[in-house]
């Protein structure tokens, strides 16, 4: 406000983007000045990535409402190519490099130094070496991407952006997978670019980093701009309050928990990454869940919650798994999915289309597949018994369909989730792990899922809920664990928890880790 040298390079006005049934963005405004580092923060699903996809042309002009003005001219981007042409380059969280091509080849991928389709390799190498120097990466341009670390790969992505004459660089969680030293180097590089007049949009969960390098911060929540803070207004407290400060409505069924003895215990659980043998993903986790209790795991995306749950469930994730699982105090073997199910553990996945349902088959077959023994004798399925079971669970979970013969691929997200729940309820587990149980489903269906969860708890099941929606965790759980970077960094009764407290626990852990 006080500064005068500010020239606005990008202005996004009243951006509204709707998906069927969901308003992802609602009248979002954002302006970025020349030579500014502008951070965007918000919870998972707040709309940050959607906004960036609108800006970079992934969602073409016409699929959203509002205006994008870049360098004084209104832009109608129809694809990423259009926006890159203007100098807007986005670097995604998952790097888009081809592992078995060289650094130089990757930098000029789709933008080859070539005449009439014939690549000039000398020119390619020379130009690559030049941009690599700018980002401070001293690697041979002929080195294959697969042979350099993640931090250096990130730098190659940035070098690639520089080779396109970038004016506005967008980085989506650039330091999520970087070590402390690499993060530091990357942030310094951004400051260096700033001094050269390049603007930068930085999306990050790491509030300490954001506070350190940003000139301004815009907070997005529920698809709306909440506020834009200037450098002198920035504080972590204020950011957190803005990020989570939503009014809690009566969106959760009332329940009166009757909590019994400990049913399920995990002790000293450690897991390594399935591909990178030396990367420890889950670090010495201890948790327990009691009879009739709903326990939540809060944490940011990438904190290792799903990986933890899947490694528990038949070692479906990771390698070199160590630790102990106890059910009613007895150590149990959960080394295969079949054994885990037989022991009484069920895991309802966060990604029902990829891991949860056979989408080309109908409700009946999907309901019984995890417990075929329950509807068969000597390996022969009793068709009538199966019908009874499928109809029973269809009624219990209130699946809306013409019959149990409806193909699950044609159901709405909420009803698909109910089929997944039916499947695991019929397997009759003692511990039910629900990973993002309400992701992508509408408010009404959410309420029904919450009701099912609270009924199950009332029946004495132990329930573990993983969710990125903090209000949901606060609304339906009895006790919370907070997870960050593969560790449990906090535990609290839900009565004493708040979104601020959870966020603070995470941020404090981030601070300690880095």
């Amino acid at each position: 406000m006080g500064l005068t040298m500010t020239e606005t390079i990008l202005e996004m006005r009243d951006i509204t983007k709707t998906f069927p049934g969901v308003k992802a963005l609602q009248n979002v405004n954002l302006d970025v000045r020349r030579a500014e580092i502008h951070a965007i923060v918000g919870e998972n699903g707040a709309g940050k990535s959607t906004l960036m996809k609108v800006l970079s042309g992934v969602y073409p002009h016409g699929s959203y409402d509002g205006q994008i003005v870049f360098e004084g001219a209104e832009c109608h981007f129809r694809s990423i190519r259009d926006s890159e042409h203007k100098g807007i380059v986005i670097i995604h969280q998952e790097l888009a490099l081809v592992p078995l091509l060289s650094i130089a080849e990757n930098i000029f991928l789709g933008n080859e130094r070539a005449t009439a389709g014939v690549v000039d390799w000398d020119e390619t190498r020379a130009a690559a070496a030049e941009v690599l120097k700018k980002v401070g990466l001293s690697e041979d341009p002929d080195t294959l991407i697969t042979n350099i670390g993640v931090g250096k790969q990130q730098l190659v992505e940035i070098a690639k952006a520089l080779s396109k004459q970038v004016k506005l660089l967008i980085l989506d969680e650039p330091t999520a997978s970087l070590s402390e030293k690499d993060s530091e180097a990357l942030l310094n590089l951004l400051l260096e670019f700033k001094s050269q007049g390049i603007s930068c949009i930085l999306i990050s969960h790491k509030l300490n980093e954001v506070s350190k390098v940003s000139d301004r911060i815009t907070v997005i929540r529920d698809g709306r701009t909440i506020e834009t803070m200037n450098k002198d207004q920035i504080s972590e407290d204020r950011i957190i309050t803005s990020m989570v400060g939503r009014s809690l409505e009566d969106r959760y069924p009332a329940r009166s928990p009757k909590i019994g003895e400990v049913v399920f215990e995990v002790k000293n659980w450690s897991v390594y990454h399935p591909q990178h043998r030396d990367r420890q993903v889950i670090k010495n986790i201890d948790i327990n869940i009691k009879k009739g209790e709903v326990v939540g795991i809060a944490g940011l995306m990438g904190s290792g919650r799903t990986e933890f749950a899947m490694s528990l469930f038949g070692r479906s994730y990771g390698q070199k798994i160590t630790g102990e699982v106890r059910l009613h105090g007895q150590p149990v073997d959960t080394s295969t999915v079949e054994k885990a199910v037989a022991t009484g553990i069920a895991y309802a996945t966060e990604d029902r289309k990829t891991y949860g349902l056979n989408l080309i088959d109908h409700i009946k077959h999907n309901t019984t597949i995890a417990n075929l023994v329950g509807v068969s004798r000597w390996g022969v399925i009793d068709d009538l018994r199966e019908m009874d079971v499928a109809n029973d669970y269809r009624k219990k979970t209130n699946i809306r369909s013409s019959s149990v013969y409806q193909t699950t691929g044609n159901l709405s997200g909420g009803n698909q989730q109910k089929v997944v729940l039916s499947k695991w309820l019929f397997a009759n587990p003692e511990l039910l792990i629900l990973d993002e149980p309400t992701r992508g489903i509408d408010v009404g269906a959410k309420y029904e899922i919450y009701t099912i969860i609270s009924q199950l708890a009332a029946q004495g099941k132990a329930i573990l809920v993983i969710s990125s929606e903090m209000p949901e965790l606060l609304g339906i759980t009895d006790r919370l664990y907070v997870m960050n970077e593969g560790r449990i960094v906090g535990e609290m009764p839900t009565m004493e928890a708040s979104q601020e407290k959870i966020m603070r626990t995470i941020v404090r852990a981030e601070g300690k880790a880095s």
């Binding site: 295969t336 080309i360 077959h365 597949i369 022969v380 809306r400 029904e448």
Partner: protein, 422 residues
């Protein structure tokens, strides 16, 4: 705001009208019945263009004999394809097993203490065991080492092609002992003696009584079982197909079976190989529709990851499926060799393509998870009747190949077209 919310997806409203239930029951089965209808139309077409040769009892018997080994392998291939795999080796494996059978029974001169190996029954059991082992070996690589089935079985195709040549030393070996020939050339004995029917013509028609009895018993059993299942379902209050459709379906299918029984009975009766085929088809229908084993195959083909996360041992399942495929390829190889009455180095080559085509014409999905035994059998007969009819018409082999290619493409095209429309 809670329970009143309507589903968001494209859920069709559940209208309870009886008319719509007839329609939906028809639609649910249209794929299978449509295919059967196509087969009948093709048969009627060739009946006309061949001036009535196609439906002669001798020719119908021939069609069954000519296609028996395709159908036997199509049953296994159906499982393989539903599981999301492919097996290119079955033709070569069947040829190799035919060669092995010939060498065991004819080619190798065993010392007296091992002479029992040349006994047709012992040799047959050895052949089945070897075929199963071959299937398991390929399945092991596919399931546990995750080498794509396309590659493993392509290699198998080359290996067993070479092995047949090697053990036959490049020559044809035959003829087989008469007991072994019965597998393909034999007919079931007539326990009651023939009956003669003075059917208007100059001389009476001699009918194979046992065949007639088996046919009638089969039709009655089918109708009784269908009726029983229907009444049990309605007793529990579940929706059943409308009575009209139920009766019509049973009359048409029963009538068809009786018609073919009559035709076969007026020649030499039921071929042995048809009995083997019939039993196998029954077993595989039961396996795919009623056994947990079969259900798991469909679940695995439909979504491998979801199946694994539901506690299905997908590796072991794949391993077993290829074992079954190997056993069926072995049986088919013996049927083929018995039919030719010799094992030749070229036997079985290219059969895998006919088998795979039959399964796809029968409505299976190349992506896995979809396919029915009845479809695969009808698909095999569609190809078989076309081969037979075109040969009778004297169409050149080059043109025959092209027509078959077009039929395969058209069948899969219309299948996908219908699915996309739905």
């Amino acid at each position: 705001m809670t329970t009143e919310t309507m589903p968001q997806g494209s859920t069709p409203p559940a209208s309870g009208a009886a008319k719509s239930s007839i329609w939906s029951a028809l639609q649910a089965n249209i794929r299978d019945y449509g295919l059967l209808l196509v087969l009948i139309l093709i048969m009627v077409f060739f009946q006309f263009v061949t001036n009535g040769v196609l439906f002669k009892p001798l020719n119908l018997t021939n069609i069954i004999l000519q296609n028996s080994y395709i159908i036997v392998m199509a049953l296994g291939m159906l499982l393989v394809i539903v599981a999301g795999h492919i097996d290119l080796s079955v033709g070569s494996v069947s040829g190799f097993i035919g060669a092995l059978a010939a060498m065991l029974m004819i080619g190798w001169n065993f010392p007296p203490e091992l002479a029992f190996l040349a006994n047709p029954i012992v040799a047959g059991i050895i052949c089945l065991a070897v075929g199963t082992l071959v299937g398991f070996a390929q399945g092991y690589l596919i399931a546990y080492y995750r080498i794509p089935s396309f590659i493993v079985t392509l290699a198998g195709m080359l290996i067993f092609k070479g092995l047949s040549l090697a053990i036959l030393a490049g020559k044809s070996v035959g003829p087989f002992p008469p007991e072994f020939q019965l597998l393909s050339a034999g007919f079931i004995p007539d326990l009651f003696g023939p009956i003669s029917l003075p059917l208007g013509g100059a001389q009476p028609v001699n009918l194979h009584t046992t065949t007639l009895v088996i046919g009638v018993v089969a039709v009655l059993t089918m109708i009784l079982m269908a009726a029983r299942s229907r009444s049990r379902r309605s007793a529990r209050g579940y929706e059943t197909e409308p009575v009209g459709l139920f009766v019509a379906k049973n009359i048409v299918i029963g009538g068809l079976i009786l018609f073919f029984t009559y035709m076969l009975a007026s020649y030499k009766g039921l071929p042995n190989v048809l009995v083997v085929m019939g039993v196998l088809i029954g077993v595989f229908v039961f396996l795919t529709k009623r056994l947990t084993f079969g259900r798991r195959i469909y679940a695995m083909g439909g979504n491998l990851k979801a199946a694994a996360l539901s506690g299905i041992k997908t590796e072991r399942l794949t391993f077993y499926i290829f074992g079954i495929m190997g056993a069926l390829a072995a049986l088919a190889g013996m049927i083929y060799a018995a039919r030719l009455n010799s094992a030749t180095p070229k036997a079985g080559q290219g059969l895998e393509l006919d088998v795979i085509a039959a399964v796809f014409i029968g409505g299976a999905s190349a992506l896995g998870g979809v396919g029915q035994v009845a479809g695969a059998v009808i698909g095999a007969f569609i190809m078989g009747v076309m081969n037979n009819g075109m040969s009778i018409m004297g169409i050149n082999i080059d043109l025959q190949q092209m027509i078959k290619g077009v039929v395969l493409l058209a069948a899969v095209f219309f299948d996908l077209y219908n699915k996309n429309k739905a």
